[in-house]
């Protein structure tokens, strides 16, 4: 393979065995055309094969590390797969029973799915808005304050999700947490009669704070990098034309770095749909309060906590499909926007 590839272009032009040989009288025009077409086809085939050859090692790695396990999950999702099947190595196919049970349960439609979608939507919107505001702030600051601010928000980003979650739990701890204690000290509530972890809304409000706090630095840094690419003349022209900050943001900044926003939104959406640690570690989030599970935690509780690996796999497949659908939607939006822009320019 290694010796063949670099030689490929030259051999492609070599005459075929049994064909005309150089130095002789030129053959008839028809024979030459046929030979040329043949060798051109062969060359094209090689050219087409070459990228695949170069990609092969990467594809092999991705295939074994990603596609094979993915296939196993799909394969398991059509089975009633438990510890007994693991030990014996036998299969136990039940067709689409797992999917029927999940899609037929009102728990999915009234609790898990709304929790997942609304929580992710809230987190994405808040993360992007806050991140963009911080990016705009960074743009206006002098070097010292910019580095200080960027360094500080990086700390929030660098904190592991588990540690961050425990900090938020402590802050909102119903008995001794700083928030409850200070509100109780002001006489606004009775600490003994308060537990924000039991309510669906308050539970998710705390989780949202946690996720947004952990996620906005990434958006801020990425958007700030995008802001640096906007030519200063555009903004100056806007100022000369008398556009306010609000107007300049929507007519100059946003259109210029739209792709950056799309990437940030896609990534945030994927992350926020599959939030697990931040919910599972919160009091009641491990399944004790069924009102607050999202798809990720539900999948874990069904598969690993109850040892029904088939059911958990089916939920995971559904979550993947949902995410895939949303991502395809975003990507199509991105491409239609960019081709539209090209059209405008022409």
């Amino acid at each position: 393979m290694a010796t063949e590839t670099p030689e490929a272009p030259r051999t492609a032009e070599d005459p075929q065995p049994g064909g005309p040989t150089p130095g002789r009288r030129p053959p008839g025009p028809r024979a030459t055309a046929a030979a040329r077409a043949r060798s051109a086809r062969a060359a094209r085939r090689r050219r087409r094969a070459r990228p695949w050859l170069l990609l092969a090692p990467a594809l092999l790695a991705v295939g074994t590390l990603l596609l094979w396990p993915l296939g196993r999950v799909v394969w398991m999702s059509f089975q009633d797969y438990g510890l007994r099947e693991i030990v014996s190595g036998r299969t136990n196919f039940t067709g689409t029973d797992n999917y029927a049970e999940i899609l037929g349960s009102s728990y999915l439609w009234t609790t898990v799915l709304p929790n997942t979608v609304l929580f992710a939507a809230a987190c994405v919107v808040l993360t992007v808005v806050l991140g963009t505001l911080v990016a705009l702030l960074l743009q206006r600051l002098g070097p010292f304050w910019r580095n200080l601010t960027a360094g500080t928000i990086m700390m929030a980003w660098a904190m592991p999700a588990v540690t961050g979650t425990y900090v938020w739990i402590w802050l909102f701890d119903p008995l001794n947490g700083a928030v409850v204690q200070s509100l109780g000290g002001l006489g606004l509530l009775d600490p003994a009669a308060t537990n924000w972890f039991t309510g669906r809304f308050s539970f998710y409000a705390i989780a949202t704070l946690n996720v947004v706090h952990h996620g906005f630095p990434f958006v801020a840094v990425t958007v700030y990098a995008g802001l640096l690419t906007i030519p200063r003349e555009l903004t100056e022209a806007g100022i000369v034309d008398g556009a306010g900050a609000w107007q300049r943001f929507w007519t100059i900044t946003v259109p210029s770095i739209k792709p950056v926003f799309l990437v940030v939104v896609i990534l945030s959406t994927i992350w926020d749909f599959k939030v697990f640690v931040q919910l599972y570690l919160m009091p009641g989030g491990n399944g004790a309060n069924p009102q607050v599970l999202n798809l990720g935690v539900w999948s874990y509780v069904e598969s690993f906590a109850q040892r029904q690996y088939g059911m958990g796999a089916a939920i995971a497949v559904l979550l993947t499909l949902l995410l895939l659908g949303i991502t395809v939607g975003y990507v199509r939006a991105l491409f239609s926007e960019s081709s539209g822009e090209k059209g405008d320019r022409l």
Partner: protein, 423 residues
């Protein structure tokens, strides 16, 4: 450059083969080495103990002992992975609530005849033997266990002339008095995510979690007797206010943290907790006392025994050698020493009896609870599922947060359990 490449390739190959060798080192070890998995942290320093056991084992059988430590939180996943990959150890410490599940999956060896021939049968703590028996065959030999009983602040009780309650009305009265006299403390927290505390009150009232009939297991959590227990236990929080809203999302670890922090006056806590509490907050030294969990009209309410069995895996090439180890570990000498070092009770009834008679004030009440009123949860893999799903915690949280009445919540939990039992 080329030399360097070759060297790094060689290093890679070596590393890979080492990894492979390490992966294969589970059950398929040499014939003269016995691989054993032990949970980490039960005994603060178990290395000297197992060094000595290893010497005794080699003396007895000529084989080497290879003890590997497994942290509790990862243990179940690690067992599952080992079963999937065929790398299970020869012998392992298995949590008492997992034994039936692993036996049902076909991973554990039947030890009924060996235990009988060795004469271990008669001296097993009954509840632990029940937990290790699946479909009338023994798969786990009781090794050690802990029990939950009433733990209270003796100094606070003395200040108000209170004694440990001996029946349920007294328990309620003591908790009410504490609420009145000690407004800054939680008299008796009712925890939302503490199934084993709840069990004592269900069993105490004569109820049960599930019962076994001809057609398998059926939930019993919504029977009238169980409801009486539930009603009493939750009403302490919902009517008498002896708990706090915060406890709705507490588990037993939070409860222990509450006692350690000096916030809690009386609670149901494990026999292994007093030592840890005093170690974390030395000012509580000598201020804690224990008593069995009272029954509704005196006596004791049964309490859950949680601990470990020793199980032999089917993959062990030399089953006799594996059994030798189980026998050595559960022998009076080593069982007693392990109990002493770890702060748990041995799985042998005679040793528990001894602790009940001769133990100190923070040991004897727990030992009496274990001897006279120890019990275990339904021995079926389906119950592991129910625990994983947190059915009873869901029930408790919906009662404590006022979303459902006791009866509604218990009915929902019973229906949920029956689904897991396959009805």
């Amino acid at each position: 450059m080329r030399k360097c490449l070759r060297r790094s390739t060689a290093a890679l190959v070596t590393a890979l083969s080492l990894t492979l060798a390490a992966c294969g080192g589970g059950g398929a070890a040499d014939d003269d080495t016995l691989t054993v998995w032990i949970m980490e942290g039960t005994n603060p320093d178990s290395k000297p103990f197992f060094a000595e056991v290893g010497r005794a084992f080699t003396e007895r059988t000529g084989a080497e002992l290879d003890v590997q430590y497994v942290p509790w939180p990862d243990a179940h996943d690690k067992f599952t992975k080992a079963m999937a990959g065929g790398t299970t150890p020869d012998v392992a410490e298995v949590g008492t609530t997992w034994t039936a599940e692993f036996a049902d999956a076909g991973a554990l060896a039947d030890l009924t005849d060996r235990a009988r021939d060795a004469g271990l049968d008669e001296d097993m703590v009954p509840a632990l033997r029940t937990a290790g028996t699946y479909e009338d065959r023994l798969y786990g030999v009781p090794w050690y266990a802990g029990v939950r009983a009433l733990l209270y602040r003796e100094d606070v009780f003395e200040r108000h002339g209170l004694d440990a309650p001996t029946d349920w009305p007294e328990l309620r009265e003591v908790a009410r008095t504490l609420k009145r006299e000690e407004p800054d403390m939680l008299p008796f927290p009712v925890v939302g995510d503490g199934e084993y505390v709840l069990d004592a009150f269900v069993w105490g009232a004569g109820g049960d979690l599930a019962t076994r009939g001809g057609g398998g297991w059926t939930s019993a959590i919504s029977t009238p007797a169980s409801l009486r227990g539930l009603e009493f236990y939750t009403s302490l929080a919902t009517e008498d206010g002896t708990s706090a809203e915060a406890a709705t999302t507490w588990d037993e670890a939070d409860l222990v943290a509450g006692i350690t922090g000096g916030d809690v006056a009386m609670a149901v806590a494990g026999s292994w907790t007093p030592a840890a509490i005093v170690a974390d907050s030395p000012e509580l030294e000598g201020k804690l006392a224990a008593a069995p969990i009272p029954g509704p009209e005196g006596g004791m309410s049964p309490s859950f025994l949680g601990g470990s069995h020793l199980g032999v895996f089917n993959t062990a090439p030399d089953q006799d050698l594996a059994w030798e180890f189980v026998e050595l570990m559960t022998s009076e000498r080593y069982a007693a020493r392990w109990a002493e070092q770890s702060g748990y009770f041995a799985g042998r009834a005679s040793l528990v009896e001894q602790a009940a008679e001769e133990g100190g004030p923070l040991v004897a009440p727990f030992a009496r609870q274990m001897r006279d009123a120890g019990r275990t949860v339904p021995v079926t893999p389906a119950y592991g599922q129910i625990q994983g799903k947190k059915t009873l915690a869901q029930m408790m949280q919906s009662i404590l947060s006022g979303r459902k009445s006791v009866e509604e919540a218990a009915r929902a939990a019973a229906a949920d359990m029956d689904r897991s039992f396959g009805h």
